[in-house]
Subunit: 200 residues, 2 copies
DNA sequence: AGAAATAGAATGACATATCATTCCGTAATA
DNA sequence: TATTACGGAATGATATGTCATTCTATTTCT
């Protein structure tokens, strides 16, 4: 196949990012050497430095890529779409199911986020949670504005609570092999508690 | 002060654990050298090896100590005490408030748990969450048995959801300086969502 | 009691290992 | 041929864990 130099460069850079993501997810950030990433691609580790400045550089790029990918899935719903509690409930189902699907389909990305993100950059991890909470907050605020959610709802903190539940869900759904049945239980239990509470 | 040799040994061992907890919480597990712990106590780093086998050894002991301390606070309520929804709500308030107080009073222990535990031993961290979830599950089951919680409640998953919220709360309540006002908001919002749901 | 002996605790220089990063001779490409 | 890419040996920084030696407190002896 013919490729320009810049194309090839881009492809290889991407391949290095893929390899790094996999190796870091498997062995952990601090147990991963540059040589491990390179040998995973069958290339000399000196070559690595032609594509990334250093270890922190690639780790940050890997993390950023994972966060972006997850963020796209997480924020797929239009926050102002729902006009009733029932619509909102359906929207929530879709949103959470999408996240659990993501966890099942890309366990590696989620593993990296849950187990390595704080090692790579603890602030970035916290920032991602904040960003996601802001989005959930917009969803809640829409409900308060349209009066199908309680007016006295603390949208800021409640959004953070919901994010915490969703994230823990994505963590628990991929213990070795993804567990679809467990994912459905999480979805059901989460939405039920959120909308109906635990009382009878 | 007079002390037997064994007493002195115990005291110093404890001092090393204290120092290690602090230094690891501040600088992170992988950025902490044995020499850092030793110099924090003004002792030679060779001495360290008279008290702990190696770095993994002390890290595990530090983590275990933190988990034990937190576990004692977390499981202070009798799971079978509540006999009505209102009693259960009060019990939940106490339980969560205790956890948030803990986070405010021992930010270092919580920081270690949230930021370093996965670095030290990811399985132990997951196991601690499981243990705590089992306890919350017992609380929920009590409510189901006594019929003040909905009979179709998925107590296993709901317990995991609640644990996720509480833990995220303890994380968010100590950003640099503890924020008591924020803690109250978390408590309020968390209990409200759990018992009443978000709908109006 | 005071001096000498012993046990075990503390020390830090050092041997060893592990990487991240650099360097430079060779290969591929334009 | 000139330029750019590649590979892996070389380098240096850093950290761990060991050990011969020094120090200290307690016990034994005179």
């Amino acid at each position: 196949m013919k490729m320009t130099a810049t194309q090839r460069r881009k492809v290889r850079r991407e391949a290095i990012l893929d390899a790094a993501e996999q190796v870091i997810a498997e062995r952990g950030f601090h147990n991963t050497g540059i040589a491990d990433i390179a040998s995973h691609l069958g290339m000399g580790h000196g070559t690595f430095y032609r594509y990334f400045k250093n270890k922190a550089d690639i780790a940050n790029h890997v993390l950023e890529r994972v966060i972006t990918r997850i963020g796209e899935t997480a924020q797929a719903e239009d926050p102002t779409a729902a006009n009733s509690l029932e619509e909102y409930r359906q929207q929530s189902y879709r949103l959470v199911r999408r996240m659990l699907d993501l966890a099942e389909q890309h366990p590696q990305a989620l593993a990296l986020l849950h187990l390595q993100a704080t090692a790579i950059d603890p602030r970035r991890m916290a920032q991602m949670m904040d960003t996601y909470a802001l989005y959930i907050r917009a969803l809640l605020q829409n409900g308060v504005d349209k009066q199908f959610l309680r007016g006295d709802l603390d949208v800021v903190v409640t959004a953070q609570l919901i994010v915490a539940m969703i994230f823990e869900g994505t963590r628990r759904v991929f213990p070795e092999k993804a567990d679809r049945e467990l994912a459905e239980r999480w979805l059901q239990a989460g939405i039920t508690m959120m909308f109906d509470g635990v009382g009878r």
